[in-house]
Amino acid sequence: MTANDPNTVVALAVLKPASGKALRPALRLTAENLASFEPDPAATLEVQRQLRVAGFEVGPLVGISMALTGPAKLFERFFNTTLDAQADGTWMSVDRRGTPRRELPLTAVPESLSGLLYAVTFEPPAEAVGEDWP
């Protein structure tokens, strides 16, 4: 696998807070409250270990997430899903009904790992803000 490979996929593994607090979608994370939602260091190491053993490249934890990189086939096998490359360069996970989602299903992931994860998600595209935009 190389970065030149169009089938190289990158996702973010978002970890659960060590405090036991919920990462509700309405929650706003800032420098003031971030410490309450940071994952447990031991749990972070365990997530990194398991993902590496599975064959992913795993980046550093920053905030509550870390990047994991691997071939599309590895993602499909590990998360038991089908991936769909988007025209904008991003990826979607397609569920059994054919609905594309940014978040990958965690149902097939071992409990020892999924229990530490809040989500594994693809990033939506971003835009450079130097060119014209409608």
Partner: protein, 629 residues
């Protein structure tokens, strides 16, 4: 308009494995063997590998009797007259070539420029055209194989010998064109006939950074990471000696030495315009198509580099919550960087509800247009709003320099030749095009993408002036010292007007590097301050009292015999009244934590209080012309 970068006219054939192996064989053999091998390989080559048109220069017989293509001949101005061709011979040659089916592209006193297919050349001149791959330096300094065409006729590469054909009477040779490439782009921006800003000078002046530079604050010792489409070398940077680390690849990206889009390369010039001595650490987050992907992962890679500042000229458009897991991860990454002391700078957006540009833990940068007469107005190209996601969060905090709609093509920036921006913004008539070629390595653009790195550079100046400042303090200094902008309206998506004082059009106004640096310096003054010892003038040397001669001893009454004269006191050698003390130059304010300073033992006078510092800051902010120091 010049053609886009690519192989020259002689080399329009794409590479193939067969050709590479052919080249290797040819390189190993001698001249004649090389040519035989090439011919042999050529026989097995597919016809489609050759372009429809191969270009060449045919030389009619020279009046001097010596061929223009004589091996070893060096044509100079002294002898070039010998290679002029007779006008009649040239006309006959043109006729013959045209009759044979060649396109006549141009005729001059020396040569006839022709074009034709491989088959046409072979049929007309009884030769065999072969293709060879040779290593050559192409545009952007890239060394790779290019396709050259040759024949088996002569020892001179690319020369067709027509002597045994009907062309032999009028032509002395036909030289097949070779690939040519544009030289490296110029370090200077191209001249264009419309109002715009150049880097570094105009942007530096517009951000009032020149005076900070004069005062010795240039970003030295400060590192700025830039998450963008990548970074590629350009004479604009190398000729000025700007310092750039090798590009770090964000997850899922490739080709660290290439910036296919050009955005990152161009915007980085804005950083150096305001902070010429920073160390730039580019992080690439774009695919070869220029799409920005996995930006949070790339941002995390930038955090891992441990920079002082991260400049982010990118955004997502998010007007309302709730946020997805990916956006929660992004906001947490931004918050973590800020909490760790990294100054995070984001573009507010160009009509976007910029995210993370609206996060509370970033310096959010909008846009102000600077007119030729120096007047300022809110850019109608840039975002400004009250966040619906973060209560009471006003966007932007302050602004950098940005142009106006429709395209904000207001800053001429260096980009890789022929990159996506070089092509897409080229030509046209300003403001609907930057009026530059599509492969010259320069393009005019701005947006909050440009404003963001300008402000990031000013952050670097502040960090140099006072390294201990936390990100929130840096932001507060920037906002306090910004020049208020009171006219204009921001992007029509928001329609917010600039008014006196802070507003949602430009924030606190246009960044003012000089004032910001002065305030930062004051913040880092040691408290209590080591007082500056006033200069004590050396006491003037007291005039020496003139020697008063001892009165001569009056002879006594000659009670005793007269004694010979003796002075009463011996004359003492001259001594100055006070020794001259050597002059000690004044020392600058010692930075925070740097110790008591060389004059600590001589401390005297009153110390600056917190109120004094506050008053000094106010003086700097309100002064129309703060001093340079």
């Amino acid at each position: 308009m010049a053609a886009k970068s690519g192989p020259g006219r002689g080399g329009a054939v794409k590479k193939s494995t067969t050709k590479k192996s052919t080249t290797k064989k040819a390189a190993e053999a001698g001249s004649s063997r090389r040519r035989e091998a090439a011919v042999s390989a050529a026989g097995s080559r597919a016809q489609a590998q050759y372009p429809d048109r191969i270009y060449a220069l045919a030389s009619p017989r020279s009046i001097g009797g010596v061929s223009l293509f004589e091996p070893g001949l060096l044509v100079t101005s002294d002898i070039v007259g010998n290679f002029v061709s007779d006008e009649g011979a040239t006309e006959r040659a043109v006729g013959l070539l045209a009759d044979a089916g060649f396109e006549i592209l141009q005729v001059n006193a020396f040569t006839i420029n022709i074009a034709g297919s491989k088959e046409l050349y072979e049929a007309a001149f009884g030769t065999t055209i072969v293709a060879e791959e040779r290593l050559t330096m192409k545009q952007q300094g890239i060394v790779e194989e290019a396709t050259y065409f040759d024949t088996t006729d002569t020892a001179v590469p690319g020369l067709i010998d027509p002597s045994t054909t009907r062309f032999g009477e009028v032509l002395e040779g036909i030289a097949i064109e070779e690939p040519a490439y544009l030289a490296a782009p110029a370090a200077f921006p191209p001249p264009v006939d419309y109002w715009h800003l150049d880097v570094p000078a105009d942007v530096s002046l517009g951000c009032n950074a020149d005076k900070a530079h004069r005062g010795g604050t240039t970003g030295t010792g400060v590192t700025v990471a830039m998450v963008d489409t990548g970074w590629q070398s350009h004479p604009f940077f190398t000729d000025r000696g700007y310092r750039v680390d090798p590009t770090v690849l964000g997850p899922g990206t490739a080709n660290p030495a290439i910036d296919e889009n050009g955005h990152g390369t161009g915007e980085s010039a804005n950083i150096f315009a305001t902070a010429p001595d920073v160390l730039l650490k580019p992080v690439k987050t774009a695919t070869a198509s220029g799409a920005l992907v996995n930006v949070t992962a790339a941002f995390n890679a930038a955090v891992a580099l441990g920079p002082d500042i991260i400049s982010n000229s990118w955004t997502s458009d998010i007007q309302f919550g709730p946020l997805s897991a990916a956006m929660q991860a992004r906001e947490a990454a931004v918050a973590a960087a800020w909490a760790s002391g990294i100054v995070v700078v984001f573009a507010a957006g160009n009509g976007h509800w910029g995210f993370p540009g609206q996060h509370p833990d970033v310096i959010s940068v909008g846009g102000v247009d600077l007119a030729r007469d120096g007047s300022l107005r809110a850019s109608d190209y840039t975002s400004g709003f009250m966040s619906n996601i973060y209560p009471a969060r006003r966007v932007p905090d302050l602004s950098g320099l940005v142009g106006m709609r429709p395209g904000a093509q207001s800053i001429m920036l260096p980009v890789p030749e022929g990159c996506q921006l070089d092509v897409s913004l080229s030509g046209g008539t300003h403001p609907n095009g930057d009026e530059t070629p599509n492969n010259d390595g320069w393009a005019a653009f701005s947006g909050t993408s440009a404003a963001c790195p300008q402000v990031a550079g000013v952050c670097a100046l502040i960090k140099q002036a006072c390294p201990r400042l936390a990100p929130a303090e840096v932001r507060e200094i920037l906002m306090t010292t910004a020049r208020d902008v009171t006219t204009g309206t921001n992007h029509p998506n928001f329609g917010n007007a600039a008014v006196a004082g802070p507003d949602t059009a430009t924030g606190n106004g246009l960044v003012d590097a000089h004032r910001a640096v002065l305030i930062a310096k004051l913040r880092c003054v040691v408290v209590p301050i080591t007082p500056i010892i006033p200069f004590r003038p050396v006491l003037p040397i007291q005039p020496f009292r003139p020697f008063q001669p001892v009165f001569p001893i009056q002879p006594f009454q000659p009670v005793f015999p007269i004694q010979p004269f003796r002075p009463v006191f011996p004359i003492q050698p001259f001594r100055p009244v006070f020794p001259i003390q050597p002059f000690r130059p004044l020392q600058p304010f010692a930075p925070f934590g740097a110790g008591p300073g060389p004059f600590a033992e001589e401390r005297e006078g009153q110390q600056l209080s917190a109120e004094d510092l506050s008053n000094l800051e106010q003086m700097i902010i309100e002064s129309p012309e703060p001093p340079v120091f």
